[in-house]
Homo-oligomer: 211 residues x 6
Amino acid sequence: MSKRNSKATAAKRAGPARVPATEGDDTRLTALDLPGAPLSPEMAAYFAKCEEKLGFVPNVLKAYAFDGAKLAAFAAMYNDLMLAPSGLSKLEREMIAVAVSAHNRCYYCLVAHGAAVRQLSGDPPLGELMVMNYRAARLSKRERAMLDFAVKLTAEPWQVEEDDREALRREGFTDRDIFDIAAVAAIFNMSNRVASATDMRPNSVYHGQAR
Amino acid sequence: MSKRNSKATAAKRAGPARVPATEGDDTRLTALDLPGAPLSPEMAAYFAKCEEKLGFVPNVLKAYAFDGAKLAAFAAMYNDLMLAPSGLSKLEREMIAVAVSAHNRCYYCLVAHGAAVRQLSGDPPLGELMVMNYRAARLSKRERAMLDFAVKLTAEPWQVEEDDREALRREGFTDRDIFDIAAVAAIFNMSNRVASATDMRPNSVYHGQAR
Amino acid sequence: MSKRNSKATAAKRAGPARVPATEGDDTRLTALDLPGAPLSPEMAAYFAKCEEKLGFVPNVLKAYAFDGAKLAAFAAMYNDLMLAPSGLSKLEREMIAVAVSAHNRCYYCLVAHGAAVRQLSGDPPLGELMVMNYRAARLSKRERAMLDFAVKLTAEPWQVEEDDREALRREGFTDRDIFDIAAVAAIFNMSNRVASATDMRPNSVYHGQAR
Amino acid sequence: MSKRNSKATAAKRAGPARVPATEGDDTRLTALDLPGAPLSPEMAAYFAKCEEKLGFVPNVLKAYAFDGAKLAAFAAMYNDLMLAPSGLSKLEREMIAVAVSAHNRCYYCLVAHGAAVRQLSGDPPLGELMVMNYRAARLSKRERAMLDFAVKLTAEPWQVEEDDREALRREGFTDRDIFDIAAVAAIFNMSNRVASATDMRPNSVYHGQAR
Amino acid sequence: MSKRNSKATAAKRAGPARVPATEGDDTRLTALDLPGAPLSPEMAAYFAKCEEKLGFVPNVLKAYAFDGAKLAAFAAMYNDLMLAPSGLSKLEREMIAVAVSAHNRCYYCLVAHGAAVRQLSGDPPLGELMVMNYRAARLSKRERAMLDFAVKLTAEPWQVEEDDREALRREGFTDRDIFDIAAVAAIFNMSNRVASATDMRPNSVYHGQAR
Amino acid sequence: MSKRNSKATAAKRAGPARVPATEGDDTRLTALDLPGAPLSPEMAAYFAKCEEKLGFVPNVLKAYAFDGAKLAAFAAMYNDLMLAPSGLSKLEREMIAVAVSAHNRCYYCLVAHGAAVRQLSGDPPLGELMVMNYRAARLSKRERAMLDFAVKLTAEPWQVEEDDREALRREGFTDRDIFDIAAVAAIFNMSNRVASATDMRPNSVYHGQAR
């Protein structure tokens, strides 16, 4: 049960000053020491577009920049799955991203995509719910079925069977939608593991976005 | 990778308006229909003090208010463990609260005590780290040992043994401190379950606190 | 497949004498070295009442006695939940206590509350069943639903939802009963962890009670 | 915290009479309806010997009696592992039996072999500890290593490797002893599953033995 | 995505020669150093029959040969369960053996009984499916129910109840069949653990059988 | 313990003919009904190259062919990670692929990449070991550390920390190698889930390759 204090007072009460939790997150992006590499013209343009539209380049892209082929392949797959036309809205795709990342407790992805859910929904607590426990959110039956599938696929993929696909069809998802739910859940199962394996740090700017 | 948009634009893009995620959280506090009961003079005074110091009465207290004995017992135990003098700072106790609640994925406690970590530390991302994965935070050895003990005690209490207590003593914790770490972890293992069993909803004001 | 022998013969066959399993359990109550504190008049009276009614003071109370506020708060909460009027019988509450403690494999609570189930039911094997596997007991549908809820809440509280509450309502439990089931399960999730964290030892007298 | 009452008083307080927990356990041994078969002379002699030495025929033997080959094979394997000469004492073998059965929460085996630990040790609480949580018992390093191996082999056999065998050798176990520890843990992993699959009920006489 | 190369070319590309994965598997059968013992006439005859019918003596039998009583008991139980008349076909029993061993990730049993499924079915990919994930196989409802029961009994025997037996009866299994499903699943839960505890190695000849 | 019989005899003994386990696997590649799409020239050339070098187009590529962008992105990422120069040999990358897919029990990936391990190593049983339990294989310390990291990252990515990276460095892996181990483990965590979500079937030709 928190108190109404200024940050300064609070910090004083907490004893010796702590190093800020985000210290170094924008300069030392991962725990691996990987030599830099010059960006290809395409990737340089992509980074410039990120700067223009987002105000920064997401650290995950910089973390892949040591190898042009890896960066290009990741960006192509990511942008197709999360931004290309789909029967799933962008918000739905970000909700999947966060619910999957919450199961895998991936700090990078929860920070970056929690911010995306807050922004796309215009409803900051919805982002918190996806991070904390999507089962506690008041979701439509469609949303709940979508997230249940994505999280089961994350937790025990060997148990996913026709009954699970049928449950999605009953909520109106097409087979193409099912592919997209699976593919979004799957790419975050990939990214969560690259991020955890390398201790990837999210851009500190995400924390305050769309609060 | 989120965009720089106003909330209004974002909401428009997301399609049909969603009901806000916190709708009803301040009026229907749990999923149980429990008859109200008049507060005892002591509890009325306590609620008034909450209003004065926090600006609101935490929903967990209101949720217990149907039964005066339960409310008084919970408040006494809670306030002793979280606010009375201890070898653990209040921030440390709140960090335990959140790390335990993250293991148990308890929405109520993560929202309320995540806010407390943000306030007491004056470092909002520290709150996020406790919610998302305390292992990704840059903690002192003391803090890490404290949280490892609390989370092991949460996840598999039957495995906690003398070696675990010794690991705390090596970081300078006294036996009394060990009791306090255990007791704080334990009360949140209790509260997480009361909250989950009743679908307890956090006061919506917590979401924006100390961001 | 055991044999009909006197204890003496059995002990002889087992080779070198073992230290009795309860050695020290009544004198060194936990693994923590906590300075004693004088009991408040209320708590001294409570301990005297325990001596009178039970013949001994449960070790859990003595273990909390190093700090008067903690002892008073625990005793108040415990006695309210386990002994005050409720839609649940005292036996039902003790059955929850043991089934929860069995999931958490808590030695202290299984010994103390296993004895309580034996006494309250007048049926010693019922106590064994709660300790070993409540699913193997021939329970009423009401009892089974109650224990299934309590154990699910123990094992994976993040999965408890409206369907689980509805399953209780279908067996005739009121919302107040649901609160009490949750609260009893929850306090044992707390006590199990305090006991495991401190290696709390049960009074040796429990072992032979109501056999 | 149980009360000093006669069973009669306790039963009265508990409300409507419950059917005793062991009702039918000595007459309907499993949930399967299997046609009886005449015992072979060897098995008839074995049953007679059980009656003479134990005072009863363990239900597990009667449960196998529908098929002479299965009964003979089980009895031969069981008696060799549990009763033949070994570097492990009979008590040690029974301790393994109970710790394994506790992991698998097997009612039949916990009742029958919990009684055996009580009898062979002459120390009833040692039986309770094996049932409830062997880690809470004050064991010799040899006993602890033995049970840790047996329980790991039960819980995650795919993780057992040379390091685990070496840990046993360090406590003085020979390779033959290691085989015996493994074989005893293994046969109870078998019996636990036959008992659970068939809802096998233990002879009611076990409950009161060696208390 | 593999290439069409001769083994020689492939090995060359893979860099420094590796020791073959089966090296020593036919000579050092387990990680335990157990003194040999002369075979009884019955067991000598049994080994000779294995040589004649299979072309070799399965290593599991040789691994038990250090102790005549253990070998005889294991052979008797194994042959009764897997080869004697039963409502389950031999193929069905081997399918259970492999699905259970896959849950337990037992190398010995997966190699030996995977070969048996390939041979008895005349369908090598069926053996692969049992090893990899039986849920991905196109099974009859009867087969699926049988394997679901066997694997649940393996993974969480404490959860097996009347509903599970009823699910088998609905597919036409008799109570005797249920016993046999349970007993086959159970003996492999035993054998998997003896094999894992001792690092038992399968005869190398199994790998190429019935491909 | 299998018998030396012709497939024909075996099939006869097994009772009514079963449908072959691979029936339909080469024609109905997934459980989703997704409209085909014309291949881009690049992808058409890629498919032709697969036909030429492998003799077939892997079903995973055909399964992605309904959408040119998804196919191109997957192929680019896959080929970079598995075929481009790396400090990891191609065999090592395939060993990771199979060990990860074994944890996730992914039928498609185990069949396709099990074949790759057999081919690249020239040692078929090595492929079996990766499928069944990599811990049972006689691996170099380097290989074991690599697979332990990959499987921990698969099973509990939230627990991967600096100690895990250090364990790889101690075996001589560079930071770039660590990235590659993580990225290969991660892409299979993705592919396993796409395959399981869609019931993707492996080309039947894989089963017999390099046996």
